[in-house]
Amino acid sequence: MSNPPSTGLRSWLTTTDHKRIGTLYFWTAFAFFLIGGLEALIIRAQLAQPDGSLVSADTYNQLFTMHGTTMVFLALMPMTAAFFNWIVPLQIGARDVVFPRLNAFSYWVFLLGGLFMNASFLIGAAPDGGWFGYVNLTGPQYSPGLNIDFWVLGLQILGVASLAAGFNFIVTILNLRAPGLTMMRLPVFSWMTLVTQFLVITAFPVITVALVFLLFDRTFGTNFYVPAAGGDPVLWQHLFWIFGHPEVYILILPAMGIVSEVLPTFSRKPLFGYTVVVYSGVLIGFMGWGVWSHHMFSVGLGPIADSFFAAATMLIAIPTGVKIFNWIATLWGGQIRFTTAMKFAVGFIAMFIIGGLSGVSHASPPSDLQQTDTYYVVAHFHYVLFGGTVLGLFAGMYYWIPKMTGRLLSERLGSWHFWLTFIGMNLTFFPMHFIGLLGMPRRIYTYAPELGLGTMNLVSTIGAFVIGLGTLALVINVLWSRRHGEPAGPDPWGGATLEWSIPSPPPPHNFDVIPTVTSRLPRWTTEHPAAPSAPGSAVHVPPGSWWPLVAAAGLPIMASAVVTKLLALVFLGAAVLVFGIYRWAYEPFEV
């Protein structure tokens, strides 16, 4: 019996360990986060003053498209995946996910899909149709270049990664929980992971279909979206937002899960209303399916449809509000320690409230007619996705990186990171409410001086660079602490859940003995949990495998066929994929 290699390039390329895959997700998502942030800074520099001329219209359109696409698909989702990978198996007392090689496959497909999409920059043809890619603008007639092809195929590849990971985590959470860890004892982060993955496996097929139609229209001359031939551009909008709204919850629910772990730990109190928080999450997941047309109030769907989607959207504010109240009640009466993780978690609540409230104003269709497609909406969803998801993920970093690396992040740098980010984001996004209400549409590379919005835009741009400084503090912190951070020990925070019962970083097999769980907060309710006895023999850890990587490589090769017009690549890519899966299937179970 040989354990898998633990150092060297090969160990990373062949790893099937959920923790190492989590680390790969972390660094890749981090890199894409920096790229997406850089794109945002160029966008803000261009808009600092009216009639800006830093970049051309064409470049700007590529930048805002890639900023959105990158942040959603290549930075935030994969960063949540880094936490799913690292933390969920530890929280449920498992030695790995159910399908470790499928897990590796997900990561490689994600990495290659991201690289494929960004390779378009090298030939100056990055996607330029917006992250929402509305047809018929993105159809062959109005976007004949390769830009949209890179986007369509890149998203298709990324969808494969998300779907594979979605199934993997659902099966893992449902089946690999430690004895006694019933569903209603499951930590909220793992719960929200489960809900998120259900949304992934139901939402991604919808966009897959929408993208297949578009791919066919573009490559084979079909007419799914061509009005002259009886196709309908509004069909795309429905399909895109049937995916797109659940996608919002795919991005926010994991952050809500993180915050629901951090708040109790640093208040020294259990989460207030655990059951209600969990069920609200589930309810939000369900209701998230019935609100998509609130992105389409200016389409003119008619008063009945508008009324329905307005009511549904307002309803979803209720479980969301309930979560917020429960978080505040968790703090209430606690002994709050303001570690950096806690600052970010509280910042999350404060900012998410603003995002939620502005959301109500465009849940009302008539009011939204003035707000949709303006900077007001940009302000709204950055309070949700930056103030919410990103701050939540930052909280998760300060909370769990010590578990991953065995070293604490610097609290001093963390404080700089928090305050710069918090002040920067409010400087950036708060003025955008006014910028939008005073008449500035989104997705414009320049605006007229007559609008009188130069000063506010300048403030917003300065704010963006303050966020940039904050992010720099994070980068330094993460890199510095890997060597010089204080040793964390198994449980630096006094956490309640299982991941804090094992060393940091955990051994490859996580748990010497699979724990038995008797309560929701296993480490708080048992004063001295019985020290698990050492296992009789060393725990076997499966060796790594090359085949997930090989199989994953087939997909971008196939996609390249469309942009190079070399049909042979389809067959080559398919052969690589099938070969990889074949060897994977017949790989000896034990080596």
Binding site: A57, N61, P303, P365, P366, L369, E450
Partner: protein
């Protein structure tokens, strides 16, 4: 127990919070004071007024909730910071009555928002009232076409309407999706291939109102602007008369006369309609019949003066990225002649 005022004063966080709220306040004041020509907060029609009223109602509700909830959060994090020697807090797990309470409270508030919302939805369907001035709006990459079917007028980027008379817009696109938006007069309505969408409004004051396309529509989406000129009844009637009168014909031998000739044998006629030049019947670009009378050209981007007109006709894409009017190869004197002719077409 210290009283809460001193607590706030002593907490360093409160100071930085103040530092953060101050600019917010300043911005808020700015937003009410300035001269914002494309503002949704300064409505000048019944339709925009209805939307503004609804938004303001929602805003006050939201502000109330904001103050209460952020206030509760602030109190919690200030009052319950860990004190040295503080003991283990009481391990509360939940409270059913509270949960029910804070589920019902937002639901009630939402009722107060939903009812006026649904009323406003049904009042804003865009159905034309009898006697309304009908205008057909056509979005093009990247300019707006306005046609008055009852008056036989076609113009571009500048919509003229009379004050206090209902206007009914029937909106389509010639290519991709655009969105018609003149914030002070009307909320957005998309124009989508294969559909006709409607908007209706009655302007309540005379003036020029800025608008622009609000749906991303390709390279020059930012440059697809427009103006609505709301005029008195007599002012509007005078405009209509100018548009529908016999096209002015330049004196023979003048520069403009020469220009008409050049126009008639240039590529221009492949894309433009111009009443004074019978062969110019194409409808790819804006109708140029009374182009001399417009305040702006090229989707409201440039003032309609000799310099800009000349540069535009020589090389449009250099002034407006992606413009679908190609660079023209015209001799300098031909260019001057065309400009003179177009300027005479008022």
């Amino acid at each position: 127990m210290r009283d809460s005022a001193t607590v706030i004063f002593e907490a360093p966080d409160a100071v930085s919070r103040l530092r953060y709220w101050l600019p917010v306040l300043v911005l808020g004041i700015l937003a009410c004071a300035g001269d914002y020509q494309q503002s949704t907060l300064h409505p000048a029609s019944d339709f925009a007024g209805r939307l503004d009223h609804l938004f303001r109602g929602i805003f006050w509700w939201a502000l109330g909730v904001f103050v209460l909830v952020e206030g509760a959060l602030l109190v919690a994090i200030i009052r319950f910071r860990r004190r040295p020697g503080g003991d283990q807090p009481r391990q509360v797990h939940g409270h059913t009555a509270l949960e029910i309470g804070w589920t019902i409270a937002p639901a009630l508030i939402l009722v107060f928002i939903a009812v006026p919302t649904i009323r406003a939805i049904f009042a804003s369907t865009g159905a034309a009232t009898p006697g309304a001035l009908r205008v057909e709006v056509v979005g093009h990459q990247w300019w707006w076409e306005f046609r008055y079917p009852e008056l036989g007028i076609t113009t571009a980027n500048e919509l003229h309407v009379p004050v206090s008379r209902p206007v009914a817009l029937e909106m389509q696109t010639a290519d991709v999706i655009h969105s018609f938006w003149v914030p002070r007069l009307a909320g957005k309505r998309d124009v989508i291939a294969g559909r006709v969408n409607r908007l209706a409004f009655t302007a309540d004051s005379v003036g020029t109102f800025l608008g622009q396309c609000a749906e991303y529509c390709g390279e020059s989406h930012a440059n697809m602007r427009m103006r609505v000129m709301v005029d008195t009844d007599s002012g509007f009637a005078a405009w209509v008369d100018r548009q529908t009168a016999e096209p002015p014909s330049p004196d023979s031998g003048s520069l403009a006369f020469q220009g008409r000739d050049v126009f008639g044998r240039s590529a221009c006629i492949g894309c433009h309609m111009l009443d004074g030049v019978p062969v110019a019947r194409a409808q790819v670009g804006p109708n140029l019949s009374r182009v001399g009378g417009r305040a702006t050209i090229a989707g409201g981007l440039f003032p309609n003066d000799t310099e800009h007109l000349r540069r535009w006709i020589a090389n449009a894409p250099a002034m407006k990225p992606g413009a679908l009017m190609p660079q023209m190869d015209l001799a300098a004197e031909d260019l001057d002649a065309i400009v003179a002719y177009l300027q005479s077409m008022k």
